[in-house]
């Protein structure tokens, strides 16, 4: 069994909406193994970004907070860590890149200075050495004309170059873990291809362990080794990417795949998952997906369902998984 480098245990995150607290992440447990790429996939409101932000203590203050759970990294529990401790982990232990480099980078500071500042502040090197490290990292992320980029402001860079600068900023201190939160969502498809390939190359050459948050199953297939599918604050299915994408067990995962235009049956219409994700203020008892599930069965699906894991590490939270019911039975549920 590989030793996980980062381990999230039974994480709960509460979100404050209109004065009341709601459970936005409920009991998420994840292991990130050394050198692997783990994707967390889900739609808006699934809790995927809150889970990732929890790791670095970056939840928006006063709005969201970890209510319980443990996050083990480098012998510490980050869920309990002080701000000073988290500050040491950020950058040198765990790096993070965001969807919008334009809002994540400081707009009034030159790109080079932003990278240098972090290194100097963490006391890793002198300003002179830090400049050399910054330049080397910018060259590593294949930024064109790196000397000039160092002196430019973020708004002077194209979208792709900005995301490269963001990646350099996250990697300059050689973190063991990189969290990428929708790193290519704001980019055009040709630039997305370049950034994904760069991330994969950096991950391999630096032996990084990486968590990538995305809503795009194509990106999951391209970069990840394992994937966790989140829905309404819970992990509903997790396992090897190849298994999950070709033999999903949870109806929600199958639904997500079915909605993709790639799964064409020759017609022009797209599949739809009926209904919408339950809002935070609605409390659903039992399976979180039951209101939209074509296999819902009154009774068993109304009780709390545990995430059960098979020997191959394929885990799912469903008592009527895909492929288990007889055709006649599935016909019945559909018309019920």
């Amino acid at each position: 069994m590989p030793q996980p480098i980062l381990s999230i245990r039974d994480l709960h995150v509460s979100l404050r909406l209109g004065g009341t607290e709601h459970d936005a992440v409920r009991g998420v447990s994840l292991n990130l193994n050394k050198g692997e790429v783990l994707a967390i996939v889900g739609e808006s409101g699934s809790g995927k970004s809150l889970t990732a932000l929890s790791v670095l203590g970056l939840l928006p203050r006063g709005i969201a907070a970890i209510s319980s759970g443990e996050i083990h990294f480098d012998g510490k529990d980050l869920a309990q860590a002080s701000n000073a401790e988290l500050d040491r982990v950020r950058g040198s232990g765990i790096g993070i890149i965001f969807q919008e480099p334009l809002s994540a980078l400081n707009p009034v500071m030159r790109v080079g200075d932003q990278i240098i500042e972090g290194i100097v502040r963490r006391g890793e090197a002198s300003r002179k050495q830090a400049r050399k490290m910054a330049l080397e990292t910018l060259i590593g992320v294949r930024i064109s004309d790196p000397e000039r980029r160092m002196k430019q402001y973020p708004h002077e860079l194209s979208g792709g170059m900005r995301q490269r600068a963001m990646i350099a900023l996250a990697l300059v201190s050689n973190p063991a873990v990189l969290i990428a939160d929708e790193p290519t969502t704001a980019l055009d498809v040709t630039v997305q291809a370049q950034i994904l390939s760069l991330l994969k190359a950096q991950q391999k050459s630096r032996d990084l362990s990486m968590i990538i948050i995305t809503h795009d199953l194509g990106i999951v297939a391209e970069v990840a080794d394992r994937v966790a599918v989140m829905y309404a604050g819970e992990i509903v299915e997790a396992g090897e990417v190849e298994t999950i994408l070709s033999r999903p067990k949870h109806p929600y995962t199958l639904g997500l795949l079915s909605c993709l235009p790639e799964f064409s049956d020759g017609g022009r219409r797209l599949a739809v998952i009926a209904g919408s994700i339950p809002s935070l203020t609605e409390s659903v008892s039992g399976c979180v997906f039951k209101t939209r599930c074509p296999l819902y069965m009154q009774g068993p699906c109304d009780a709390r369902i545990a995430l059960t894991s098979g020997p191959d590490g394929h885990a799912f939270r469903c008592i009527r998984p895909i492929g288990s019911e007889t055709p006649a039975e599935s016909e019945q549920t559909r018309h019920a």
Binding site: E43, S44, S158, G159, G160, M161, D188, V189, T190, V191, Q192, A193, Q194, L196, S197, H215, D216, L217, G218, I219, A221, E222, V241, E242, L245, S246, R247, P248, P251, L254, G255, L256, L257, S258, C259, L260, P261, E262, F263, S264, D265, R268, R269, L270, A271, V272, I273, A274, G275, S276, I277, P294, L295, I322, G323, S330, R334
Partner: protein, 347 residues
């Protein structure tokens, strides 16, 4: 029904004190849409596809060129209203959160265009509102509610109902599902397909999602830096792309089978600034096939073969791709589980 001839749109952009620069967002673009077809325009941000949509919808005027709708020539936005085109051409926008008035009830949002376009008396307007509600599967009670009480997908259905209220002939959809989650995109797409098939509405669909466009369009046009570089029936465009930029776009989409990409795709750089469009072919500085002629002579949009329906703006358009761009199909079990459940939900 729609003819665009050498449409050009330039913007004056301030470049510091007293000086201005000219940005050409759409450059001598020609295109004809047939009545009742589903035409998609694809391209990356900054290629001019939204500017073109705004011109066709009469929200702004072209700097040069001619636009004809059903034979009527339109040169400016004022003429749009004069010639009764406000009713005939309608538009849906990307963000259903900002495109609906938050203080109006759904019933009034749907009635407003009918009243301003002179649909008829109050009775006729209310009858039409009820029809529209049934098209988007909203129960009567939902009409009395406000936009914020609905999800993004439901709001976008309201935006569509409002756009088709007075039976337009041309519906322009500017990235209508880009802001929506995967599981509900289908609600909007299927509704648009119903409108095209059942009402015979011509649809101009603007998107950057190639997999989607491939599945739902009759024809597809690819835009790059203000110009059309390729136009073809959807299946043909994806099976036999003749412009290197079209190939680059197709190969850039992450594949579900996790296939690795060609080094060429990764070396293609980014779209240059629209202030500095290269001479000759505008794609040449990113093109793996570029040769001397591309720098001096701009290739026009011309038939690829004797088939007049497939056009490409490339000197090498007669050459098929070195290898098929097709990807092996991916299969999953029980795909029909959600197809059969694919009814749009009522709010």
């Amino acid at each position: 029904m729609l003819d665009l001839l050498n449409i050009t749109r330039r913007y004056r952009v301030s470049a510091g004190l007293l000086s201005t620069r000219i940005l050409t967002a759409v450059d001598k673009l020609s295109l004809s849409l047939r009545k009742g077809e589903f035409f998609s325009l694809v391209g990356e941000s900054g290629c001019g596809k939204s500017t073109l949509a705004r011109i066709v919808c009469g929200l702004e005027a072209q700097s040069e060129g001619e636009m004809r709708i059903d034979g009527k020539t339109i040169t400016g936005t004022a003429e749009f209203a004069d010639k009764g085109l406000r009713r005939r051409v309608q538009m849906i926008f990307q963000d259903p959160y900002s495109s609906l008035n938050p203080r109006m009830r759904i019933r009034d949002i749907l009635a407003e265009p009918l009243i301003s376009l002179g649909w008829g008396n109050a009775q006729a307007v209310q009858t039409r509102v009820a029809e529209l509600a049934s098209i988007i599967r909203f129960p009567d009670s939902a009409l009395e509610r406000f936009p914020h009480q609905f999800s993004g997908g439901q709001r976008q259905r309201v935006a569509i109902a409002r756009a088709i209220a007075a039976n337009p002939d041309l519906l322009i959809c500017d990235e209508p599902v880009s802001a929506l989650d995967v599981s509900i995109k289908g609600q909007i797409i299927n509704l648009l397909l119903d409108i095209q098939e059942q009402l015979g509405t011509t649809i101009l669909f603007i998107s950057h999602d190639l997999s989607l466009v491939r599945k739902i369009s009759d024809r597809v046009g690819v835009m790059y830096l203000g110009s059309l570089v390729e136009v073809a029936p959807a299946q043909q465009l994806f099976a036999d792309p003749r412009h290197p930029y079209t190939r680059l776009l197709i190969e850039s989409v992450p594949a579900l089978n996790g296939k690795r990409r060609e080094e060429q795709v990764l070396a293609a750089g980014e779209m240059p600034s629209p202030f500095a469009i290269p001479s000759g072919c505008r794609f040449r500085d990113r093109c793996p096939l570029a040769f001397d002629r591309c720098a001096t002579e701009a290739p026009g949009l011309q038939p690829v073969t004797s088939d007049e329906r497939h056009l490409a703006a490339c000197h090498l358009r007669a050459q098929p791709a070195p290898r098929p761009a097709e990807r092996p199909p991916v299969t999953i079990p029980q795909i029909d589980l959600f197809r059969t459940a694919a009814e749009t939900t009522t709010p």
